[in-house]
């Protein structure tokens, strides 16, 4: 069973406006390690899809950020994480049963340690 990470875009990802600290490489690394990844942002879903495609990343989901509960319902995962840069991101994430990390906390890629922890269980 996988872990799921949802990224906000503006203020969180390096290609957001304003740019955030989470790089495409970090996203790619998580995906390569088997994480389910996607974005929940205020950008139109169709625009989110285009932004990922432009970076040659095939995401598992895109959605408006208030649709986090739907993402949780669609995917079975061991852990659900949303990374964002606003109080509202935190509020929506926690209401939807996601763990939440601020964008600057995500830069350290703490999710990589989950794999080791899970392997040890």
């Amino acid at each position: 069973m996988a872990f799921l990470i949802s990224f906000d875009i503006d203020g969180t990802l390096e290609f957001g406006d304003p740019p955030g600290g989470i790089t495409v490489e970090m996203v790619r690394r998580a995906q390569d390690l088997g994480f389910l990844i996607g974005s929940c942002s205020d950008r139109f879903p169709s625009a989110q899809k285009a932004l990922w495609e432009a970076r040659d990343i095939k995401v598992d989901f895109v959605a408006a950020k208030h649709m986090l509960p739907d993402i949780r319902a669609r995917f079975v995962a061991l852990k659900y994480l949303h990374i964002g840069d606003r109080d509202l991101d935190q509020q929506l994430a926690e209401k939807a049963g996601f763990e939440f990390l601020w964008d600057h906390e995500g830069v350290a890629e703490p999710w990589l340690a989950w794999l080791d922890a899970h392997a040890a269980e």
């Binding site: 208030h66 109080d87 509202l88 509020q91």
Partner: protein, 136 residues
């Protein structure tokens, strides 16, 4: 809900003092025979500055509503989403006040319902402010 505490000035002290006494007092222009809220230094219609403070019934009607999901006010963010309704005063329906309609479930505001004023204590200073409850 944790509203910000309004800080009265010399000018609007009568309104806020009355709130602390649980009375709803608003301005009235004798020349136009018209109520107004919020308080202003003059009547915007005729320019008169001899406005009086008058107690009103504290009854009104719910005119419209929104549900706030993304408030700019930090103190209210934990309570999102929440109702905000416009209340048209019984004495003069063009005079509009706002309400969180305490006790009314989100997105279930009864448009047109009769309401009466209550007073809510704001936490920072204890200043009371008008709120409204549905009575029918």
């Amino acid at each position: 809900m944790r509203k910000q505490s309004p800080v009265p000035t010399e000018f609007d002290q009568p309104f806020y003092d009355a709130c602390n006494e649980e009375r709803l007092v608003i301005q009235h222009c004798p020349a136009c025979n018209r109520f107004q809220f919020p308080p202003r230094t003059m009547c915007p219609r005729c320019g008169a500055s001899n406005l009086t403070w008058q107690q009103v019934s504290g009854r009104g009607r719910i005119q419209s509503r929104v549900v706030v999901y993304d408030s700019p006010v930090s103190a209210l963010i934990p309570d999102q989403p929440f109702n905000v309704a416009t209340i048209a005063l019984e004495e003069e329906p063009d005079v509009i006040m706002l309400s969180h309609l305490p006790g009314v479930p989100v997105d279930a505001v009864p448009i047109g319902a009769t309401v009466e004023v209550i007073f809510e204590t704001t936490p920072a200073t204890g200043q009371k402010v008008p709120e409204w409850r549905v009575v029918g």
